[in-house]
Symmetry: C3
Amino acid sequence: MATTLFAIPTRGPGLTEFTPEIAAWVAGTGLAEGLLTLFVRHTSCSLAIQENADPDVRRDLLAFFRRLAPPADDPAQAGITHRSEGPDDMPAHIKAALLPVSLSIPVIRGRLALGTWQGVYLFEHRAQPHRREVAAHLA
Amino acid sequence: MATTLFAIPTRGPGLTEFTPEIAAWVAGTGLAEGLLTLFVRHTSCSLAIQENADPDVRRDLLAFFRRLAPPADDPAQAGITHRSEGPDDMPAHIKAALLPVSLSIPVIRGRLALGTWQGVYLFEHRAQPHRREVAAHLA
Amino acid sequence: MATTLFAIPTRGPGLTEFTPEIAAWVAGTGLAEGLLTLFVRHTSCSLAIQENADPDVRRDLLAFFRRLAPPADDPAQAGITHRSEGPDDMPAHIKAALLPVSLSIPVIRGRLALGTWQGVYLFEHRAQPHRREVAAHLA
């Protein structure tokens, strides 16, 4: 069994891939069969597994979630009370509820069982850059 | 390895925190490193990890999901056929599909790797109070 | 510990149950207490746990997600750039972000801890039939 923390710097809203960092850590443990679990330690960003080919996919995803939960000062937004940290505060909590806080990926013959097009991402929901922590467990 | 069932009484729509019950159970097992998995045994409530500071966050979340999937008798609602148990029946299934049915949290040095502001909640989607069961696994 | 791959043929948009296949595999391993994890190896379909009684629930779910993320050629749709594989391409990625890519279910006394009404489904988001793979891990 192994645990670690990944630190992921973000640049504001959007998806930051960290598949290579995860794969390197898993390979380094030498585990042949097992389960990797990732857990994001925040309430205003998420994990995501998405296509890692066309960058338009990430742009469209970001735009979709912005329309679904617009900033509190957007005319399309309604009914947001909590604005302690600004208009992007509560929409970030909403997205963090909708998108995965934990993800588990089997390890088979020493490799993550990701599909051909799957990449693992940290999805930042806040307007400002942040340093995010993802706890990882492998057994 | 340990398993248990948490029974969580709810008071109708909203978020009920049960982080202390989980933390006490994990501490009681004496496990230093491992993985906690929670699994909700229903199709009309969910798990959620959310900010446990400002209660406005939970109110805004509840309101957001009510707008996203309004009751079947709400003028804003469209296209709901299944109403066996009333107008809150199908919207509860929709929210149960959108929000987590299972969550996994690493245990590091005897403690859940939750971030500073993260609490674990049972999110009730039905109009009436219920007694909900969450299966827990620790290994 | 055991791992396997489930192959699930789909017939276009909708939910395909594979609870019996999972339960048979878990029973075949003889494991009494543990954790089953499922992981879908694609970015345009999802896992779902839903009511397995009234088929209207699955129809209403399908209709809800079609309204939430309509095809790129639907007048209700806005702001989709990525259409490499047609108008159902990007909405499938959006639904794959919103719905579970992995699910973990405790095994207690040799049985999955599913609730009475819970079935495990593969949720196809593309317009055409596909053959989908779900990696499974049991320990």
